[in-house]
């Protein structure tokens, strides 16, 4: 009996340790398998369409919105921002390269020199500052317009975040993973509660999207964000993170702060292999 107990306890400990130390690759495989089993019949790439991959009537509404997409004018505005030279004569191309379609798939990435996760928005503002321009706000407006343009240009290319075998990069990934699974706020809810365990179910009139494919359509045009006083509808991923945290009554972290950058690193890695379809439309 004692031997049996020892064996069971050891097995349990090993299983726990294995789970705690699972590599990003293993995490990705488990994550994908979970959703594939949960939603059999849905093609991998379809997850990038969020709730519209899971609910037929919502999909019909979304398809009708996509006939005249409300984000189109902001893609054009983004193109204008991309093409307009800075006061010093240079442009965003001087920072990102001439081919706009190659920019978005590079983000987020680990930067060894600064030992931090670099995001597209972070590099947009870095470029502006380096050229003597005023940086954009982090969550909406011009930064989202430019992101929408770069996302649009990159449509069809696959998400391919690399987590290098560097302890600091792995720690950033683990921190992002922990953030995603940790319950927070007065409602005691984790990102994973809604978007993993309850994905596909309804929360009031909304269908909870699956976390798989979440990041492919950002920046996003949300009808909710187009209401008076909230902006033009377009917003960045970190704006959405803040909104989610606020909804569970946790104090949101700063957009482009370490917490959300690491979360983006993990969250985007979980969508590796899915096509970029930004900007997307959501209710």
């Amino acid at each position: 009996m004692k031997k049996m107990l020892t064996l069971l306890l050891s097995a349990g400990l090993v299983a726990t340790a294995t789970q705690a130390m699972s590599s990003p690759k293993e995490d990705l495989a488990h994550f994908r398998t979970y959703f594939e089993q949960r939603f059999p019949g849905i093609q991998l790439n379809e997850f990038g369409n969020g709730p519209y991959a899971l609910d037929a009537s919502k999909r019909l509404q979304w398809e009708s919105m996509e006939e005249f997409p409300p984000y189109e004018e902001y893609v054009d505005k983004g193109r204008e921002i991309w093409e307009t030279p800075f006061k010093n004569g240079k442009s965003f191309a001087s920072c990102f390269g001439k081919d706009a379609s190659k920019v978005r798939p590079k983000y987020p990435h680990w930067d060894k020199a600064s030992s931090k996760v670099v995001t597209l928005e972070g590099d947009i503002n870095k470029c502006l500052k380096a050229n003597g321009e005023k940086p954009f706000g982090w969550k909406k407006g011009k930064i989202a317009h430019l992101g929408a343009f770069l996302g649009y240009e990159a449509r069809g290319q696959k998400t391919n975040v690399v987590v290098p075998n560097d302890p600091k990069a792995l720690q950033a990934y683990e921190d992002g993973k922990h953030f995603f699974y940790a319950k927070r706020g007065q409602l005691n809810m984790a990102c994973a509660d809604c978007h993993v365990y309850y994905a596909g179910q309804r929360i009031r009139g909304n269908v909870l999207s699956a976390a798989l494919g979440h990041t492919t359509h950002f920046p996003v045009y949300r009808a909710k964000w187009a209401k008076k006083g909230k902006g033009d509808g377009l917003g960045t991923l970190h704006r959405r993170y803040g909104g989610c945290n606020k909804q569970v009554r946790a104090r949101p972290f700063k957009a482009q702060g370490k917490e959300y950058r690491n979360l983006e690193f993990f969250h985007t890695y979980m969508s590796n292999g899915l096509e970029i379809n930004a900007p997307g439309y959501r209710e």
Binding site: A20, H30, R184, Q186, A192, V196, R249, R251, E259
Partner: protein, 109 residues
């Protein structure tokens, strides 16, 4: 009868003195100051582990319990301030405990 009136008068005098004594508001203020110090320490502790809840002091919260408590105290309403600080104390401690309990959070599949 005279003795009774004298005793009654003395009782009234004592009660009157007690009512006008400045001790009561001062003690409320002291209570508030102590509660504020404790609450702020609890909030900082929760924030240090990323466990602060939305309505304690976040600028966009409609409730903002901590700033509201400070406002109420400034207006002399120490009872209201103490009630709000009770909420702050509870939420800050709960946020810290939650963050500690979630230290090893990970996938459940």
């Amino acid at each position: 009868m005279k003795k009774l009136i004298a005793a009654f008068g003395l009782a009234l005098f004592i009660t009157g003195c007690n009512a006008t004594t400045p001790d009561k508001p001062a003690s409320k203020q002291a209570q508030y100051e102590a509660a504020l110090k404790n609450a702020q320490a609890a909030v900082d502790k929760a924030a240090s582990v990323g466990g602060e809840w939305r309505d304690i002091r976040w600028k966009k919260s409609k409730k903002k319990y901590l700033p509201s408590a400070i406002e109420a105290a400034k207006a002399g309403d120490y009872d209201k301030a103490l009630k709000l600080l009770d909420i702050v104390q509870f939420q800050a401690e709960a946020g810290y405990k939650q963050a500690m309990a979630q230290k090893n959070a990970g996938p459940r599949f």
